[in-house]
Amino acid sequence: MRLASWLTMRVAAAAATLIVLSAVVFWATEVLPGDAVGTSAGPDATDAERAAIRVSLGLDRPAGERYLEWIGQAVQGNLGESLLTGRKVSEVIGDRLLASVAVLLPAAVMIVVLAVVLGSAAGLRAGGRWDRALSAITLGLVGSSDFLLATGLLVVFTAWWPVLPAVALVPAGDELWQHPDLVALPAIALALGGFGAAMRLLRASVAQTTGTGFAEFARLNGVRGVRYVWMMVSNAAAPALHGLSIVLAGLLGGSIVVETLFNVPGVGFELSQAVAERDVPLVQGLSLTLGAATLAILLAGDLCAAMLGRHQASAPGGAR
């Protein structure tokens, strides 16, 4: 019962956050100077022409009124049409989503596997040689931004040791996920940037758990091997899970850069193109989609952490 009311609160908070984002998106794209008039009018338009376009696009009406109308349409799934191609924004998003997921899913799996394996190994032997080496490496990875890691991979795997294609050119009629060789580089780039922070959190949590009284009691009672590792890691998972969900949500930001660099035809690539071309309805629709996806991931992470925590509190021995 408490979980249900907690969940309602969290969903309401996420919805409120999405409304804040929609206001920011609307304000940035339609109220700030770089609005749709510049795109439609072209660079040579006179002031009178610009004013006429402003009226025809309905941009002379008050911003609040336009925002309410826009958000009302968006709730019904109508995000308008692209200024440049005239395609429906919701259609464009539907097209692009699959390619983004084809890159993000393998990256997320790699992050989880690397973080759990390396984080547990380092945390169980905190202070050891492995632990220090991993700590230095992940610090370097966390410190470098995604575009540098992705460019580094691009240089190594296309110029010096050409085994993977540099640009994701998907044959017509195929989907990206049918070509693992095209997915590999972007997914590895995202995973390298993301796993460091998740791994360090799990490491810290595992190291803390091995120092507790119940862990010592288990060791003295002869709990060894896989059983001991599982006991430590499962008890350390809840706090790290929250961090993992933040890392996975952050992947969506990294995917914008990585998709742009590798020409992956995904949501992030489309968004950076739309910003460059000032295609206002497309920018609005794509950024709302990415924002909603971020919130959904964080919500799922919170829910998992809460359920793990609940399980722990009722576990015999109160292992916390």
Partner: protein, 277 residues
Amino acid sequence: MTPRRLAVLMMSSFVLVIAVCGPWLSAVDPNTPVAGPFEPSSGAHPLGTDVLGRDTLARVLDGGRALIMQAAVATMLGSVIGLTVGLGAALTRRRTVARFAVLGVDAIAVFPAILLLLVLAAGLPGGGAAVVAASVVVSVPFSVRVIRECTTAIIATEHARSAWARGDALMVRLRHDVLPALAPAALAEAGIRFVAAVQLAATAGFLGLGASAPAANWGRMVQENSAGITVNPLPVLVPATLLVLLAVGVTFLLDHITGPLLGERDRVGPDLVGVTR
């Protein structure tokens, strides 16, 4: 200070000096083509030429200052807001107001920095303003939380409680009891945000946002010269190496300082993953 930390400190300072003083050191104009594209290094052009045949060394010297300036402005603005909201939330007795202030600051920062950067760049094209604004928005919650947690711990100490009990004015308590103890944490978290802001500014250049085309920018150099990586890798490698040296150097230095100060959660900053990524 151990020799290793000294070496890392020198390395990071070296990058900062190049970035800030570079435009004064360069004798060649960074925007004029001087030779063919992607020529390898020679006596006249120590780092060769870039995609348009411009001198790479001149562009490297010219391309760091904008990043550092944007990051510095964003860090200072972030510190001002972070200190104001964080101290206010910790010191006020209106718990509900404080809670909602922190919640409000947190709300928008759950979104990836690059998403906010692109949205703001759509409205503020061709300038550093979008970069600075995005950096501030995504990093302020981190600052607020660190400052608030540290301040809450500080005002619970004996000396701070006795100052409060004998009726010292708020400003006196801030000046003598809170701020001196808060300074190390505030500086460390500002350092973390500075690195994140430099990375975000470079990413903006890489994505073609920020100052418009001919202006040199380490992030944009990586992007525009990656086509010629097999012919002359230096126009990509040199700016990329400088960015990595700065980020890793400062992160390494702060890691040792901030470990005991901030705790694991803040020091690797999963929240900061959202700031740089």
